[in-house]
């Protein structure tokens, strides 16, 4: 293995998640380095230089996000978004389970750069082992003087507060996460104001994904320039890709950005189950538009390439769909999810997601009627761009892209009252 690894750089054993193991492989040296030799602004500069883009899905440049925050504000908060709930995405869980300390170190480095005294980790409520591993890591770190008052004997103090989510997908949306953290029902907030100006408890707030923050120790150790040298030009570094669906070896892979999508499916994951042909790929978590098998021919795993192909890199949760899968029924899984997870605050999403699920359900039950597809398209276009948060978009994009790409299957289903394909969706 020649290319550098930010995450997959150690062997997993029974105690590889502990502080001593992490320290054994150089853990917390980035923090030492930053606190002793660097000014907060230097840390930010390194991150900016690295070209690191947010790993949660939107891919916003991290250094730029940090630069929006008024560090002189009496209070600045940092929230780690660990509410990993996008179907097909399971990379953050890997970090928590195997290397929580790397995240803790990343949080501390970000907190140092941003003048944060209290950082929050909002962790998905369903994560159990992750939660326990994180608490263990924090306990170890606190005892070792790495978290809390006067970290490593310096002037820098930072507490990390862990908050478990209550089981709402929408709380992975950053502003709902803040609302939830504040103790309210997890409703997204209208923007502006953006969290960088008025976020948690009305204070400037930075919200970063787990993977993003966990990457920072590497950047500080090796320098932003070294990181920028990895992967694609405008979307640097390595990234965790979670491949699920009809592949022989599903799982997490760390690859430099710009890595060919086909290669990860056919080489790293051992190809399609049962040797079937590739029908479609959802490249970045369930909300990104689906790509047909032939469309991924030259796609590489970086933001620009995937966008060019008509989808988004998103969170890097790649869902692989084999030939013979009924796209109508597959879509129903997604519409059911989004209808269930819509928070209900704004009209288009609340009414629209429920109605779309109902209609897809009706089609699947063999009771679709002519005009359903046109109406579905009308609703998706009415939801997209018109909702408080991105959940409405996330719910509409699969519907719109499935119908666009596989219209014949839908029409067949409506006309005949049954699927074009026999057998069940094999996962």
């Amino acid at each position: 293995m020649t290319e550098p690894r930010v995450f997959f750089n150690f062997g997993i054993t029974d105690d590889s998640h502990t502080l001593s193991a992490y320290r054994g492989r150089g853990g917390y040296q980035a923090l030492e380095k930053a606190l002793r030799t660097m000014q907060p602004l230097d840390v930010e500069k390194e991150v900016t230089t690295s070209g690191l883009r947010g790993r949660g899905g939107a891919g916003f440049p991290t250094g730029s996000k940090w630069s929006f925050v008024d560090k002189k504000s009496p209070v600045v908060y940092l929230c780690c978004n660990a509410d990993e709930g996008e179907p097909g995405t399971f990379k953050d869980r890997w970090i928590f389970e195997h290397n929580s300390h790397q995240l803790v170190e990343g949080v501390l480095l970000a907190a140092y750069a941003l003048n944060v005294r209290h950082a929050f980790i909002y962790i998905r409520g369903e994560f159990d082992l992750s939660y326990r591993r994180l608490l263990l890591a924090l306990e170890e770190a606190r005892e070792a003087g790495l978290v809390g008052e006067r970290i490593l004997g310096t002037e820098f103090s930072c507490d990390i507060i862990v908050h478990q989510g209550g089981g709402a997908y929408v709380c992975g949306e950053e502003s709902s996460l803040l609302t939830s953290l504040e103790g309210f029902k997890g409703y997204p907030k209208n923007k502006p104001p953006f969290p960088a100006v008025k976020g948690l408890y009305q204070a400037p707030t930075v919200i970063n994904n787990v993977e993003t923050l966990a990457t920072i120790p590497w950047i500080i150790t090796h320098g932003g320039g070294a990181y920028a040298g990895i992967g694609a030009q405008n979307n640097t570094g390595t990234k965790l890709f979670g491949i699920s669906g009809h592949v022989n070896k599903p799982g997490i892979h760390e690859r430099p950005t710009g890595y060919p999508l086909k290669k990860i499916i056919f080489e790293d994951c051992g190809g399609i189950l049962g040797g079937k042909a590739l029908k479609a790929v959802i490249p970045g978590g369930s909300s990104t538009p689906v790509l047909k098998g032939f469309e991924i021919e030259n796609v590489t795993l970086d933001a620009e390439s995937v966008i060019k192909a008509g989808s988004m890199l998103g969170s890097g949760g790649i869902i692989v769909i084999a030939e013979g899968t009924c796209m109508v029924r597959l879509l129903q899984v997604l519409t059911r999810f989004y209808a269930h997870e819509s928070c209900g605050q704004c009209t288009p999403c609340r009414e629209g997601t429920a109605w779309m699920d109902k209609v897809i359900g009706r089609i699947v039950a063999g009771q679709g009627v002519k005009g359903d597809l046109e109406r579905l398209e009308a609703v998706t276009s009415g939801i997209m761009g018109n909702t408080v948060c991105a959940l409405g978009d996330a719910a509409s994009m699969p519907v719109a892209s499935f119908i666009k790409k596989f219209r014949d299957e839908f029409e067949y289903y409506i006309e005949h009252g049954r699927s074009m394909f026999d057998g069940r969706l094999e996962i």
Partner: protein
């Protein structure tokens, strides 16, 4: 200021204005369902989507997005119309569209927008909801099938009312506006949620099926309950007041009302209204003609004038114009100075306290100061209950303007629960001592404002505080000296600080001295005569401030209310003219009042109802309610506001103005006051603060008058009531839902709070082994009443509370006008 273009129109608005408000200022209407100007933006309905040149690709919600320099906004394009239409179609998916039987029809935003956007068919279909309709309470009907999730009810209840009765429960399409544990509504029933509901999901039950919205006349008026002076719009049809209509542009309170304003208008058309004059014949009151009744009254008054044994008690619920003629009748027609209102003490803080302290019988602050101040010290948490809408202003001040709220009170209340509020629980009746101790702290710690020394009476006042030091009185007041000192320091150090004291028949302890002690404190701290500073004395009734302004109390040697009652008992007052007062129930010491009235030779009572007092009368004259007359009320915040006639007099009732005027003409031989307008002109000529006002200048908005003030330190000694061993301290006051005794004829308050009660703290309840709704006997030296128990966490140990409004088992049967009544409670 920010410059932007909306629909090709150049607009300049202040920073932080939303696109919606900027458009509104430019006269451009953007449709919206989830917005109310009083509430924080929500952005839920997505009707207000607009296009912004600089933010292409998404449609932008106008209600939440602040304007930026150079922004180019288009409020209507094909795309926008399409998006809005889709929103309406989606909202109508689940909505029952039962407009023909919906009371909101005609006043429904969803209906109006559906019409405007010509949604004559829906591309989508879905099953409707079958939520059970909540009929669990008598005032607010909740039909969640009609709900469009604008969240306004939850937001107004949280942001302004600070009760939090509603919240969204569940998620997505299953989300609905729910209550605590999805149970029945159990709140203050102010009806704010009904006011702002854009559809018919929340309805006022008393108005159900009464009239179509468009069939009603809408008449602007002023609420006739408490002194807050909320403006109302009455919905009138067939000479009946059927409802109050919400208008977010009315008054300082933006149309916000409490239970009384919203749900207690029914007294106007109550079946119990007096419709003909009555005279006592053979021991019973029988209907007579106006001629007969007025002749009898006139003859009696003419002879009483000669004998000089006449007195009058008038309610401050009448208009300024009526009070003015009443005073004329007494002074010029009867040659008597024996008139008063509200038992005398309910206004002494103003008529004696303020007069001596600032030279005029008024507050040194206005209601708007509440939100402008830095620190607000409220004496008695009941300010929320006596003047609920002032309470809302306090809520808003605390939540939005970071007002530091402090409360000195003998019990906890709603204000106690506001964020950051600090309550100093004092032993009842020690308020004056406590306020003096605050002042003494300023003196001892050299925190007195430099300018204070030049105010008349400073040295004498300073000397009078000897013995008032926190260490000396803390124990008596039930606080620690440190608490008192900290409060004093915080008060003086705040850049702006306001003192607030509610007045009323239920608060005999809120005396002249307490008011003066507060004024002194404000002078000493340099918190006088500036914005957000001063003392706000909240007069109890709708026109209490007007009655005081017009001098409806004995100034030149006449008898005050107490002396009049004594005079009746002693036989020196033989003719008593009571206009609107129900002294049997509301004045202290019922036994004494009843005995006095019994002794009066001739009792004239002029009222809307055959009250307990009217039942004792020789002649009863039916008067008009506020809805039947024209005139002005002056609010506790000194806003002079116009009352408009909404309906014709009920039955043969005549306005107090007309009755007083007739008697005045016949007894004085002088010409009549032509009409209320003419009376107002005379008022403005005689009351300096009102100079220059006319009905025209008052307009719909009213005018806040600011009288000239001359501060003066007045010595205001306090004394602690002597505790009686083994007894509990009964404090009386106002219940949230009631005001005086008139609200007993309002359906709303009577549904929610139909009878008197005694509120007892949990510890005491345990000790007395009583629970909610147990009937207990409350016994004082004056007598005993049986009241239902209400157990709560508001009362400190050893203190109980009872509201005074109720005629049956009335609290004045046991309370005699002392600040504290010592009672025993037994099952």
């Amino acid at each position: 200021m920010v410059n932007l273009t909306i629909d090709d129109k150049q607009v300049t608005v202040p920073k932080n204005t939303t696109i919606f408000d900027a458009a509104k200022a430019a006269g451009i209407r953007i449709p919206i369902l989830c917005h109310d100007k009083k509430l924080n933006p929500f952005g839920g309905c997505r009707m207000c989507l607009v296009e912004v040149e600089q933010m292409k690709g998404r449609q932008i919600p106008a209600c939440t997005t602040p304007v930026t320099e150079g922004m180019i906004v288009r409020t209507m394009t094909d795309e926008i119309a399409k998006a809005r239409k889709l929103v309406l179609e989606l909202l109508l998916l689940k909505h029952p569209v039962d407009c023909p039987v919906c009371d909101a029809a005609g006043d429904c935003d969803l209906q109006n927008l559906t019409y405007e956007y010509q949604v004559n068919s829906n591309r989508f279909t879905d099953e409707k909801f079958h939520h059970a309709i909540d009929y669990d309470n008598p005032l607010i009907e909740r039909d969640m099938n009609r709900c469009i999730h604008c969240g306004k009810c939850a937001r107004i209840c949280d942001e302004i009312v600070s009760f939090g009765a509603y919240t969204f429960i569940s998620r997505g399409i299953e989300a609905k506006m729910g209550t605590q544990f999805d149970g029945p509504l159990n709140c203050e029933f102010c009806g704010s949620c009904v006011s702002v509901c854009p559809v018919g999901a929340l309805l006022a039950r008393p108005f159900k099926f009464k009239a179509r919205w468009w069939a009603m006349d809408k008449v602007k008026s002023v609420c006739s309950y408490c002194g807050t002076g909320c403006q109302l719009t009455l919905g009138v049809k067939d000479n009946k007041v059927l409802t109050t209509i919400y208008d977010e542009n009315q008054g300082f309170h933006n149309g916000q009302l409490c239970t009384r304003g919203r749900f207690a208008y029914q007294f106007v058309n109550s079946d119990k209204r007096l419709t003909t004059p009555l005279m006592k014949k053979n021991g019973a009151l029988v209907e007579v003609t106006w001629d007969e009744a007025l002749n009898a009254v006139q003859q009696r008054l003419a002879s009483a004038k000669t004998a000089g044994d006449v007195a009058g008690l008038v309610t401050p619920r009448l208009t300024n114009e009526e009070l003015f003629v009443f005073k004329k009748l007494f002074k010029d027609g009867l040659g008597s100075e024996n008139y008063d209102h509200s038992a005398g003490y309910a206004h002494s803080a103003l008529s004696k306290g303020a007069v001596e302290s600032i030279g005029v019988a008024a507050s040194s602050a206005v209601i708007a100061d509440i939100q402008k101040t830095g620190l607000l010290l409220v004496v008695k948490s009941d300010a929320y209950e006596t003047h609920p809408v002032v309470g809302f202003e306090i809520n808003l001040g605390v939540k939005r303007k970071d007002v530091d709220l402090r409360i000195i009170s003998d019990k906890k209340g709603k204000l106690t629960k506001l964020p950051g509020a600090k309550t100093y629980l004092n032993i009842p009746g020690t308020e004056t001592l406590l306020v003096n101790a605050l002042a003494k702290t300023l003196v001892d710690e050299n925190l007195v404002d430099a300018a204070a020394a030049s105010i008349t009476g400073f040295e004498e006042w300073k000397k009078s505080l000897d013995g008032a030091a926190p260490e000396q009185v803390a124990g008596i007041c039930g606080l620690t000296a440190d608490e008192i000192k900290t409060l004093a320091r915080d008060y003086v150090k705040a850049e702006k600080a306001l003192l607030l004291l509610p007045l009323g028949l239920g608060y005999p302890g809120h005396t002249k001295e307490l008011a003066q002690a507060l004024f002194n404190l404000s002078f000493a701290a340099g918190k006088h005569g500036k914005e957000g500073c001063g003392v706000l004395l909240l007069a109890e009734k709708n026109n209490s401030q007007g009655a005081v302004d017009l001098g409806l109390y004995p100034v030149a040697g006449g008898k005050d209310a107490a002396a009049i009652i004594d005079g009746c008992a002693a036989g020196s007052i033989k003719t008593l003219y009571v206009a609107g007062e129900n002294l049997v129930v509301s004045y202290p010491n019922r036994k004494k009042v009843e005995a006095a009235l019994d002794k009066v030779d001739f009792l004239i009572v002029q009222d809307l109802f055959l009250s307990e007092t009217a039942a004792l009368a020789d002649v009863v004259l039916p008067a008009c309610s506020f809805a039947e007359k024209e005139g002005t009320f002056t609010s506790a915040g000194k806003a002079v506001q116009k009352v408009n006639r909404a309906i014709k007099p009920v039955g043969q009732a005549k306005s107090d103005f007309e009755i007083f005027n007739t008697l005045y003409v016949n007894l004085s031989g002088k010409p009549a006051v032509a009409d209320p307008k003419a009376a107002f002109a005379e008022i403005t000529a005689s009351v300096p603060a009102y100079a220059g006002l006319t009905y025209e200048t008052l307009g719909d908005a009213g005018v806040v008058v600011v009288p000239a003030m001359t501060p003066k330190f007045a010595v205001a000694p306090g004394a602690a009531p002597t505790a009686e061993v083994g007894k509990m301290a009964l404090v009386t006051g106002s219940a949230l839902y009631h005001c005086g005794t008139m609200s007993l004829y309002g359906e709303g308050p009577m549904h929610v709070c139909p009878a008197g009660y005694v509120e007892i703290g949990r510890e005491d309840a345990k000790r007395l082994t009583v629970q909610d709704d147990d009937l207990v006997t409350v016994t004082s030296a004056a007598g005993a009443v049986k009241l239902k128990v209400k157990v709560g966490s508001r009362m400190p140990e050893g203190v109980v509370f009872a509201p005074y409004h109720f005629a049956d088992q009335s609290v004045n049967s046991i309370a005699s006008g002392e600040s504290v009544t010592w009672v025993t409670i037994s099952k």
